[in-house]
Amino acid sequence: MGLLDKEFSDGNIVIARVDDLMNWARLSSIWQLGFGLACCAIEMMATSASHYDFDRFGVIPRNTPRQADAIIISGTVTLKMATRIKRLYEQMPDPKYIISMGSCANCGGPYWEHGYHVLKGIDRVIPVDVYVPGCPPRPEALLEGLLKLQEKIRNESLRKKIA
């Protein structure tokens, strides 16, 4: 598995510096898997367009799961699509993150009551790091979700957590 899972002894000064450097590198170049599901995908494209510019945060759309670090689940996840997303998630190399964008991906959104074919939230299939609310969320809301993900990566550490 990736570097992240090795345990190092705690409280080592050198580790602290390397930690920040590793985290900084991982968070400032999150490559998103370029695929969208529904209306939130159009808002995600608008975010990577000139007005809100995902590239400012180092986010480039990569097409193969092999080279992607994060998936932005943008849109309604149906049961037929859920198995595909699970397989995509497994194809990605290890330090990987998931942003669930929009009400549909968070908990089924407007389709939670009568949607017989809608999966009620992507966290039933893959572990989600950041939930971005909105239907569809504004591009700034998605950027704020990305900043929250970057915060989360910043506090990750190679050290073994002392419970």
Binding site: S50, H51, Y52, D53, R56, S103, N106, C107, G108, G109, P110, W112, E113, G121, D123, V128, D129, V130, Y131, V132, P133, G134, C135, P137, R138, P139, E140, A141, L143, E144, G145, L147, K148, K152
Partner: protein, 185 residues
């Protein structure tokens, strides 16, 4: 042969025209809004996060009936006559204790159908769009101002009042109606 030369000339000419346009754009100023440092002021009718001003809410359940996604849950307890629950901003007398007012913003589809039917305009959409969370359970916003034991207390009062009224009604009919009249003002 003529078509051959025309193709070559066309190919080169249109490529140069395209390159002129992109080069011109190299010097036009970028339109990017640098989000975290520069936050654009949104227009006033913008629809983002829902907010309920609880001291205006009379618990009439109009908004939860109008919501297509039914993400608003309201529970109310009738107040016993003597209690004073205050006046809403537009002067309507409040008669119900709102013990539970939950909006599951994760389900909300931001269609603003709940804002129009509200008699006291206490539910409206603010322009706050930065509320991403790490946990999904944080999306369940509880607006009710009564704490749990207070609402339990209200319920008990109401049941007690109900039992009294039933007992009073079961007693002889003639002389009780006068009293209940003034008691219920």
């Amino acid at each position: 042969m003529k078509q051959y030369l025309k193709n070559t000339f066309d190919g080169i000419y249109t490529v140069l025209v395209g390159m002129k346009i992109t080069f011109k754009h190299l010097f036009t100023p970028a339109v990017t809004i640098q989000y975290p440092d520069v936050k654009v002021k949104l227009p006033d009718r913008v629809r983002n996060r829902l907010y309920v001003n609880m001291d205006d809410c009379i618990g009439c359940d109009q908004c939860s009936r109008a919501c297509p996604v039914s993400c608003i849950e309201i529970e109310t307890v009738k107040s016993i006559p003597g209690e004073d629950l205050g006046i809403t901003s537009n002067g309507k007398k409040k008669a119900l204790w709102v013990t539970k007012f939950n909006i599951d913003i994760a389900k909300c589809c931001y269609c603003q159908l709940c804002v129009f039917p509200c008699p006291t305009e206490c539910i409206y959409m603010t322009d706050v769009y930065e509320f991403a969370e790490y946990e999904r359970s944080n999306f369940l916003y509880k607006f009710a101002t009564l704490t749990d034991e207070e609402s339990a207390q209200k319920k008990i009062n109401y049941e007690k009042f109900q039992a009294e009224k039933a007992a009073a009604a079961a007693k002889p009919k003639p002389e009780t109606p006068a009293q209940t009249e003034n008691k219920s003002e």
